[in-house]
Amino acid sequence: MTRTLRRSAWTGAVTVIFALLLVWNITQVPTFGAFEIQTLLASTLALAYLAMAQSVVVIGGGIDLSVGAMLVLINCLSARFMEGTSFGGSLLVAAGCLAVAAGIGALTGFVINVSKVPDIIVTLATSFVLGGVALFVLPSPGGGASPGFQALVLGADGTAWWPALACLVVPLLVIWLPLRRSKAGIAIFAVGSDSNAAFLSGVNPLQTKVVSYTVSGLFCGLAGLASTAFTAGGSPQATIAVTSTLASVAAIVLGGVALTGGVGGLVGPVIAVWCLYLIPNIMLGLGVDPSYGQVVGGVVVVVVVMVGGWLRLGRGKPA
């Protein structure tokens, strides 16, 4: 009991911080209701998925600089083929997109393991490629999605907040929890923690790499679909890819995932994403120049990593 507390201390801390920020934000705005909650949940959904994707890879001892590009690609792909489809059609397209995303993820993992090229380089390269392909698929912003599909995130009348939350929780329960408990999932943690010990314990490195990147790809796919549903279309701009990739890295670090691998979960990063959403909001309320927001953001991330590093050094794992 006490241990489970201690082990999830980081997530706990992040949650507390989130709560504080939320209260602060609530006091700032005249009214805080369903609309605000929906903003929080729905607009961060894609990034939350992306943070999950990044977490899975980093926990497995890697890092994925292509999550943003993947999001953009799937966003464009789905938006292009969902345009003018029925709800059923959209779901079909969505399934197809998820398959593509998972496939690309698997391929990435395979290449990394076979080529022995560091994750960061491979994914940097693939991010270029995916970004390029996205521009092929959707040369300029456009596409669309069936209203029904949008309702999956925004609710039938477009004002409900719980669908977004459901979208977040369901994959956690359906994909992550089973994996986390399965041998394959534990193998991801083991490899990230100590690849040699993992191998001696009978873990297959290739398989594990592929699994972690496939799952990551799946979450990236969900992120792409989420932004399609949220914005009812696709946008191929490269800046989106870069920005969201960096945001995902910041989120997992704040969410308690050690960049050295083997440590962390998926809930912490999601809550961290919410914090990262609230911070600029609060500064908006304070009337702070958003440019200073950039500065504050940077400082926060660095400081948290620093402190987290010290805490982890106790466990002999420099962050």
Binding site: Q28, V29, P30, T31, F32, F35, E36, T39, S43, T44, A46, L135, P139, S140, P141, G158, S227, F230, T231, A232, G233, S235, P236, Q237, T239, I240, V242, T243, S244, Y277, P280, N281, L284, G285, G287, D289, P290, S291, G293, Q294
Partner: protein, 338 residues
Amino acid sequence: SGGGGSTNTGTGSGSGSGAGDKKYVIGVSNTLVGNGWREEMICAVKAESLASKKVSKVVVTNRNGGPTEQIADLRSLISQGVNAIIVNPSDREKLNPVIKQATAKGIVVVSVDQAVTEPSAHVATNDQVAYGRLGGEWLAKAIGGKGNVVEMRGIAGVPADDDRHKGFTEALAKYPDIKVVKEVFTGWDFSKGGQQALDLLNTSTKVDGIWTSGIDYTVVNAFQTLKKPPVPVVGADNNEFLNQLLNQYDKGVRGAAVTNPATIGGVGASLAIDVLDGKEVPRETTLTPQVWDYDTTKSELEKNYFPDRDPTYSSQVEVKPHTDYTPEQLFACKGPGE
């Protein structure tokens, strides 16, 4: 009226200082950080708000991102209880739902620089098609109706870029003897555009004129870098470009600045305030670009060149009759209560 209702919520959240009669809160949404033009646009909103004396504060959301981020920002502004929102949209359609929600709450939404299709929003844009056409026509005349020209566009897939391309192509359609020998995307990145110019001007293909989508002064510099005689260049009203047109005329620099004022933000602000005051305002306000060059409108160049502003500063500081602020107020970039 809706405007009145929103005014009250405005004073409710109006940073306490809302003693005066009509104190509006104006929100700004921008999704490109560290871009000079966009920063000036925001400054224009602040300056106009200040000059109008009817605004208690201006709250700005600005971060890199796409529609997703911008929708979130717009929603945050709504939650903050602003009375009007000046938005530089990252997409034509994707913001429509949230804009509708805003206007339904009685918030005035003005989309500046680029249009949105949401009917309940006001739109204040520079006529980008005209931007391309006017520049194209000037260039065609400047090179005597025949020869090779290079088209240096902005970012592939961005509406403004498409429009300008459209106008430019229209203009050249009238000149069968003019050939577009190269078409490159500068990404509206000055140093990148300069490099591309270096590459292009080194090729064996003769270039008689260059049309740029605003990446101008680095292109002019490319000629000096290469020690080649400059050819006519069409650019935007970037401060440094004006400087070149004015002060390097004797070095043979020829060109035209087609205005694309960042102060469109100020226009948006004044429109918003007018609407809040209950005045009748047409949905669309479109500024037709002016074309400045040394030979015909030297005075404009002189009037609008500010030696102590940075190079990418969009030089048309005032847009009469819309804006009321003084250049100093714009340069100061301080909103009410700052």
